[in-house]
Subunit: 304 residues, 2 copies
């Protein structure tokens, strides 16, 4: 079975009619749009980022009804394969992102995707590790709900391990589950600090199954080994009593280090950290100060 | 040069006299005590955890004066080697740890360390990846400062990548830097959620150098590849507008999953997540809800 990217929606709403019905155990391929929903193209510039219509961003393909799914069940989704386009984009969108105050201006990089490498800048390519940014089931509360924030029901979780080889368990909130997905990234770091990964259109193959009465409280994932980073990293720290402030501090320090060591513009370093750097909570127990660390494979910087 | 664990102190205080002076470029081996400072032994039980004198915990060995170090310099520390004892401990300490409300009772596990494996429970050993939990320089503000919280000057950062092969840059705050270290863990996960890793005494070999006027704003690290995890993981999520609440939710969910899948007592699952599980900030941009995910190598559970 195949679902084209013509069947998209822009809000979570349990009243949106399903475009397809699957039986538990079925596999399907789903086409997804990049997260601007066609507003950005290969020829776009920063001006187009400033002009984005946010009512049209983050489209998801679906909803897919799963036969027999009932509230309280777990929807078990195996991501079998994810093929991405030959280009993507990553951007600094004014007012959006962890360091929105530091980087107020729109900035756009079109990223060439060639096999297992995504080129952000000349001499700087990051490994392609495709992932499904948004995957979720209908919110049970009636009415329209924004696609931007993730929820217990999944959605725009932007967990970089939700890619090929992963198994995701979501709680079912409405009869038929009503699964939708989109917002594939060819690469993204833990945190997605500038607000985008390498945004790209894609085709996702998945298998859907049900476990009766086994709804997890929040989404649970089994990850694939390939999604874990192995290289030696450059890491910076944010230290203090507030995890958000520490995340900002660690990110800002990593952006500064990358810019200083390589000479790239800080805003490009910010994009790089967003698509390939990882935010870890190093400790959250040594009262009253926590440590967030931001890690970036040092090998990425070798060509700059 | 060698520094024994008889030269320890229990607060940061710039007036503590250095026990040794190094020149930039020197190497030294430093003995460190486990973080109870000898209050817990191989024969201890949970009762001894409840009786811990917190005035004696987290001892650090030092201070080491570095010749010529001035405020504004960067102290560059290469961790060359870390050898740990043949046992350690990990514990749930009442009132301490990310899930202190869920686990109010004292609990202690003595961990046998045998080469590259640390056995928490029969059939459950985690890889030994030694790290230096506390490493820092004197706080420039006069007077006594607790050793518990990390600060800009380092200290109890509990960054699991601060182990063999890592290079750490700390800002120098006082003349001579006054470096001290301790609190070595044979293993620890990002977050150190129960408040302890595998606490153990150790000998740490390090090289110390200076970079003039290059003090980083917060500690900066170059990590070794071996410290990054590569296995397929079980991962849980916490989703919401507060990173701390999300960290708790993800941790609680991982503890529950491990206990449910393996039958181990939840408090032991909590200890396991603390010594081998990693908290990642998956996204911190999809307003207003952030995602913290907690990851644990699935292979660790195979023997249970």
């Amino acid at each position: 079975m195949h679902l084209q990217a013509t069947s998209v929606h822009h809000v979570w709403d349990r009243s949106i009619a399903p475009v397809l019905t699957l039986a538990p155990g079925d596999t399907i391929t789903v086409q997804t749009l990049e997260s601007s929903g066609g507003q950005l193209t290969r020829d776009s510039t920063a001006v187009d980022v400033s002009a984005l219509d946010f009512g049209r961003v983050n489209p998801v393909t679906g909803p897919i009804r799963v036969e027999g799914a009932q509230p309280g069940d777990a929807l078990v989704i195996d991501i079998l394969e994810t093929s991405v386009a030959d280009w993507g984009w990553t951007a600094c969108i004014p007012g959006f992102g962890l360091l929105a105050d530091d980087f107020p201006d729109a900035h756009l990089r079109i990223v060439s995707i060639d096999g297992d490498r995504a080129e952000l800048l000349p001499g700087l390519a990051v490994p392609v590790l495709p992932m499904v940014g948004t995957i979720g089931v209908a919110v049970p509360e009636p009415g329209e709900h924004s696609l931007v924030p993730p929820r217990r029901w999944g959605g725009n979780m932007d967990i970089r391990q939700v890619g090929p080889g992963a198994r995701l368990r979501l709680p079912v909130g409405v009869e038929g589950a009503l699964l939708s997905l989109g917002d594939v990234h060819a690469a993204m770091g833990d945190g997605e600090v500038c607000g985008t990964g390498v945004e790209t259109s894609a085709t996702v193959a998945l298998r859907v199954d049900l476990e009766r009465g086994a709804a997890p409280r929040t989404p649970v994932l089994e990850t694939a080994p390939a999604t874990r980073r192995t290289g030696a990293a450059l890491a910076t720290t944010g230290i203090g009593p507030d995890l958000m402030a520490a995340a900002k501090e660690a990110t800002r320090a990593l952006v500064d280090e990358v810019a200083r060591r390589t000479g790239v513009d800080p805003v490009d370093a910010y994009l790089l950290v967003s698509i390939a750097g990882d935010l870890a909570i190093s400790e959250v127990v040594d009262v009253p100060n926590w440590v967030v660390s931001a890690h970036l494979d040092r090998a990425l910087l070798a060509g700059l």
